[in-house]
Symmetry: C2
Subunit: 370 residues, 2 copies
Amino acid sequence: MLPNKNIQQLSPYISIPHKIWNLSNKKNILKLDWNEASIPPSPYVIKAINNFLSNGHLNWYPNTKNLVLLDELANYCNQKDSSYIEIFPSSDAAHECILDVFLEKNDKVCIVAPTYDNFRARANDVGIQTVIYPLDENFDLDFNKLEYFIKDKNIKLLYLCNPNNPTGKAYNIEKIKDLIINNDNTIFLIDEAYYEFCNKSVEDIVWQCKNLIITRTFSKAFALASFRIGYVISHYENIKALNKLRNPKNISMLSQVAAFAALKDLAYTKSYVNEVTLAREEFLSFLKHFSIANSGGGGYEMDYYPSMANFILIKIKNVSLFCNFLQERDIFIRSYSHIIKDHCRISIGTREQMKIVAKNMQEFNKVNNH
Amino acid sequence: MLPNKNIQQLSPYISIPHKIWNLSNKKNILKLDWNEASIPPSPYVIKAINNFLSNGHLNWYPNTKNLVLLDELANYCNQKDSSYIEIFPSSDAAHECILDVFLEKNDKVCIVAPTYDNFRARANDVGIQTVIYPLDENFDLDFNKLEYFIKDKNIKLLYLCNPNNPTGKAYNIEKIKDLIINNDNTIFLIDEAYYEFCNKSVEDIVWQCKNLIITRTFSKAFALASFRIGYVISHYENIKALNKLRNPKNISMLSQVAAFAALKDLAYTKSYVNEVTLAREEFLSFLKHFSIANSGGGGYEMDYYPSMANFILIKIKNVSLFCNFLQERDIFIRSYSHIIKDHCRISIGTREQMKIVAKNMQEFNKVNNH
């Protein structure tokens, strides 16, 4: 049967590379392409899963209202109580639910871009048009101009990722809050997937701003990407509205168990975030010397951007040559040339892991300098 | 912010009881309310999860195209190859994707009811109208009349659950196939969630009928309800269309691992299905004697329906009294009085478990006979 007109118009589905899953030996792989944590989750997570395997009911549907987990999350997010929180099987799934619940077909959605592309794609998939508000050439955001744009274009929902992916830029948090407070006819969807790495959030105005929805994930700093669990922080009236559509059975029980255990060992996540921050600064310092060295000789020209997240956006002339060179050496990074010409993104792991990346980049330079 | 008009019109969300999750001791609970398996999954599942905990990458996103699992499923479903199969994080999630991909706002969807209500609810939630084609008073289906209805009303998609939930009735499989083959302008969504208990499917006409979509789940016979994993069997062109919208990262890796392990131990599932079949026949026999005894005395009048699935629909005058009585004795069953007056549904577990149910029903009769 033919899909509906809207789906027919979509460009063919771009398959995400999954080569990594077909490798028989994954031991020495550096997976730095999707901004996952580069280390396993807290040992508490493994322990909690083992405990559930022994004493839980794998044959039962998952808990449909896990108050213990919601309370823990409310505490983690500094909310009054769990009525301001809801969990979803990924923040992508939260975005889908937000689109279905809060938007009409003719509403205008604005995306501050370049950014994580899933929200735009899903909006278009379900027939909602999006307009792009472009960042400037340094990926900075002029808030005054954005506010004018929102009003002028009668924007119903604005999607802003902070810190932004793939640029790594964190916007001024007070300016974001002012924008939300001063434009209460627009819904602000603030994607804080990388919150833990910059430690700045708009969570403290949730109680007063019914036009604010924050999404977060356990897939990055908490190292639980395989589990598909994320959450929404928003005014309880919005949480109620989302729950009119949300399937309450939809989060695997082991994912709930894993998330709760991870929240019970925040020291582990904090320590990993510190390690990534150190690794990022070391790697940025390497990139600085590397690009200076390159600009003097015949090596590959390269530029890069400061980052407040666990990845760095790099500009390099022949992106695919660079990505393929690293991939052949078991280092998977992400080409972004389909969205930003000549750019790729490298997730930041531990210092030791990033030294391996640096070593291979020097090798790349040597090979391609001759 | 106000949700969109469509969501505003929805009746308030009916919270699913989750009392069971808040009980501190779940050891002796008989959970017979949601048709889950009443025993743990195959030991292979536990072993496979333990192996992944030791050697897998919990920090990585899940496999986006698990060909090994898809091939195993294609084999299990007697399909030519895995292009006829796609996995989803539950068959509910598959239903949502089918609605979004194949239907336009003004298309007519027909539900053969009473049946599992989630598809109707979701269709209405996203603004698609549904018409009910009612089963007769014995929950039987006149295929000639249904075919006339489909043509007369210009039905774009028909939802048929086989065997049907909550009635337990399996429709004539050849008549279903004829209906699909003879009405190629209508999409037939055949929900085979309980396939394993009746062993009859329309899977053998998938290759020739592009208007057929089958959904199935690992939540029932395979005892993996906590994992949220289901799948679609359909012509590869339909699978391709679904993949234009489907988020390929959306199935927890441990759920994929669990499903694959369960398929590798079909003997375990077969043995459980046999046990349930025996338990169902014993329990039906008990119900027969029980209702005869009751109709003679002053006990509770009761009727019941034959079933080809792992549950039995029961008619009893005071449903909530009956359900509450059992619940106080740690037996959770499902009242259906909101959909079919004076009816409740009891999932069938093992013979031993059903003897406990029978014993408590006799107790109920005694208490309410005085």
